[in-house]
């Protein structure tokens, strides 16, 4: 079975107010040093790699800020040291403002064939509340540049539950997305994390209430599906065939290797991660072990995030036994409340169900 390869790029020109991912504004020379550290870590892991990687993903931070040349260097090193499947999906997360013509060209030249663009909202006031500097027009320009260079597998990020957001402003963002013609959208519910500037000023902001946020979620799903983008995961929508193959590795509980500080891996049956410590990664410190991965609970918990759901067939294939009867019984009970869709073989959450997925998943895996 093929696996995913993830590179974490912990650099940003400026950190957004809601973000608690590991990233910082680099000083001179740090990005080059980091490129070299990533390449060294590729070489270090290479001997342990058996199956080919069919996806590569540069996430961040802001990979576009890291630059096309460095991304290319890392990709070249990966190709040289690791088995990369032909036709592998290679994604880079880009910020609209740093997606220049030159960047688009260099990404294409490096073999990147998919870009995920952080839009969050098409409404200026909402973007400002998040501390985003780029404009929707820049996003539009970025998409054009990427397409001109042959990168057409494009995704936009949306955020729901933003301060000041209403059904009307959300409609505006959704219209923007629809008109952009991208085949993939991720729509996340904003979670205000502690230790972020947004958390510090949350009292001063008018967040929509929980019921509204739930309505936004359903409104988004409906609008996107009407535009032909089918929901395939709690927060992800795609035209058939354009699902993120890389992210599917996570949700199908398949193997992936994550390199860079704060990057997580499920590799060789083990879960491990690199600490949120840039210098430690530059030194080549080993990752922190996080135990065995891929047990039935983890499998069910992740698969239930997918619209395709958890199937007895897939479970049997992985673990050589059936899903417990009790899980189907519980699922049937919840189905009467419209939270699940249960067939002979499969348990899948409905859109209503996704909104309370933590509770449902907790309930279902409790019988394992």
């Amino acid at each position: 079975m093929s696996a995913g390869l993830y590179f974490h790029i912990p650099f940003c020109a400026r950190k957004c107010d809601y973000c608690d991912f590991y990233s910082f504004t680099p000083t001179d020379g740090r990005m080059d040093a980091y490129r070299d550290a990533l390449i060294r870590s590729i070489d270090r892991f290479a001997p342990a790699v058996t199956a080919p990687f069919d996806t590569v993903y540069f996430g961040g931070g802001t990979p576009s800020f890291f630059g096309g040349a460095r991304i290319r260097a890392v990709l070249d090193a990966a190709r040289a040291a690791l088995p990369l499947a032909p036709g592998a999906e290679i994604t880079v997360e880009c910020n609209p403002s740093s997606t220049t013509e030159a960047l688009a060209a260099s990404l294409a030249a490096a073999g990147v064939n998919r870009v995920s663009l952080g839009l969050q909202s098409a409404v200026a006031a909402e973007r400002a509340a998040l501390g985003r500097t780029s404009t929707p027009q820049q996003a539009e320009t970025a998409l054009q540049r990427l397409r001109r260079n042959g990168i057409t597998n494009l995704s936009l990020d949306l955020m729901l539950g933003l301060p000041g957001q209403t059904a009307a402003t959300l409609r505006e963002s959704l219209r923007f997305v629809s008109e952009s013609g991208v085949p993939h959208v991720s729509a996340y519910l904003l979670k205000v994390e502690e230790n972020t500037p947004l958390f510090a000023k949350k009292e001063t902001l008018a967040f929509p209430d929980e019921d509204s946020v739930c309505d936004f979620y359903l409104q988004t799903a409906e609008a996107l599906e009407q535009g032909g983008l089918r929901q395939y995961e709690i927060s992800n929508f795609a035209r058939p065939g354009f699902e993120s193959r890389h992210n599917l590795h996570y949700w199908r509980d398949e193997a992936y290797l994550g390199l860079g500080p704060a990057a997580h891996s499920f590799f060789g049956g083990k879960r491990f991660f690199f600490p949120r410590d840039f210098d430690a990664f530059l030194r080549g410190d080993p990752p922190v072990q996080d135990g065995d991965g891929g047990d039935p609970e983890e499998f069910c918990m992740l698969r239930l995030r997918l619209a395709e759901g958890l199937s007895d067939g897939a479970f049997r294939e992985r673990f050589g036994k059936h899903l417990p009867e009790g899980m189907f019984r519980k699922a049937k009970a919840l189905e009467t409340h419209g939270l699940l869709c249960v067939t002979q073989d499969t348990i899948a959450l409905t859109k209503q169900g996704f909104l309370v997925s933590n509770a449902i998943i907790g309930e279902l895996v409790a019988v394992l």
Binding site: I234, A263, N358
Partner: protein, 604 residues
Amino acid sequence: MAVPKENIRNFSIIAHIDHGKSTLADRLLELTDSVAKRDMTAQLLDDMELERERGITIKAHAVKLDYKAKDGKTYELNLIDTPGHVDFNYEVSRSLAACEGAVLIVDASQGIEAQTLANTYLALDHNLELVPVINKIDLPAAEPDRVAAEVEDVIGLDCSNAPRVSAKTGENVEQVLERIVEDIPAPEANDDLPLRALIFDSVYDNYKGVIVYVRVMEGTLKAGETMRMMATGAEFNVVEVGYMRAPSMEPCAELTAGEVGYITASIKTVRDAKVGDTVTKVQRPASEPLPGYRKVNPMVFCGVYPADGADYEALRDALEKLQLNDASLSYEPETSGALGFGFRCGFLGLLHLEIIQERLEREYLLDLVTTVPSVIYKIHLRDGSVVEVDNPTHYPDPGDIDFAEEPITNAHIYAPADYVGAIMDLCQDRRGVFKDMTYITKERVDIHYELPLNEIIYDFFDVLKSRTRGYASFDYEIAGYQRSNLQKLDVLLNGDMVDALSFIIHNDKAMARARRIAERLKETIPRQMFEIPIQIAIGSKVIARETVRAMRKDVLAKCYGGDITRKKKLLEKQKEGKKRMRQFGTVEVPQEAFMAVLKLEDNT
């Protein structure tokens, strides 16, 4: 080495809570070298973890101190520590009955408070010589002169010689010992009469069996003799007699009249050595037992269930062990449709219930669910028979009931006169019948009410304390049964009856209580994946309803960069949360819900 009888002093220490009883006891132990400094843990006498934490004494304790007084003679001082709560009033009275005097501690910064007075009257009832002590003189707010004057005024005790001490720093504490020796009389004791020894406590020991704590009033007892418990009639061969020393026991050849000591006799259960019973000898028995023995019956009953059904055996073992040491705890197996297998337990009162529950959870690491406490109702059926019901589940069909009776108490509340209005409001609200009111002093009153027991077992004392800012004390005794208009209320969640939440209540209060309980349950039951109707019903008639709305959002939208740790942690947290929940049909109810339906007052 026995001292002459005129050198024996038997005494208790009485005080309002937090006035420094245990600290003073510790200092007395130190001063008499009864315990090495290095063995001193704070408040040695309160040896249960729970006692130290709650600052109350639950079990009586005793210790023998040797004191060489200023007059050059050596005295044998027996300090008998007493519990301090209305649930244990009988035990207190037995401890006091074992003494000739009591040290009354009053806080120099706070003066006389509720329990100061209640305890004083209890001590005077037993004709004890009182030694007033003004404590906490080290506090900046201390006013020893004012407090001494107050004690003289209110209680009528001469305080000119009252030691002013700091039990905390040890200042002047030796004066307390001198006053004990000078003011408290030696016991009137005759070794030649037939044995009569008062049991004021008994504890279970894994090696010796029950250790019986006694005050010998008359006669003598030594190992090898056969003793008889006069109330139960049980007979035992005495294995060992001795004195309570800190921190261990000291066997002796013989206990004689006037002394305080212990007896072991391979007694298997504390039920055979009941507090208040009289020990005599089979060979030459006393004709009359000592006065004051009372059979202590549990008054409050509730179901105790393991949160995890697998712990049933462990719960039974734990109850068995606790009962070894607690004659007033009863239990028998019962089954609940909602909670599975558990036990119906009987307690002296609500504090006793809470203590047992806490000990089960802490000392035996059990996770418990307890049901609404109930008293024993007598239900007269149309066919002429009478059933006693201590579990609402067994309440007969209303159609079969001729009439019902509930237990009534004689309750006395002592409080400053300023609070009379507040107290009467409370008693009225609890269906009390006013009997009379007497002024103990110009400022303090004794309010006498008849109160139904089921109105005071839940939160009466808590509410009383909060409405009187802690100044009221409260005592009650069962006065018999009275006809009453009772109803059984059932709770339905999502249409399913939860038998463990049913309770019996007076008709006049049913409606208000039903509404309050519905509200409380709504607050306590967390939103679940679907809407949950809460209904409170009498028979098939719903008299109150609420709805727990369905939760709308509980989702981790982003599972970023393959970091699933957070999601796993969430799952773990959910599992932890589930452990505190009970599943009723399709509804999960947190254990707090069971307590929430009890404590309905807002001002506690």
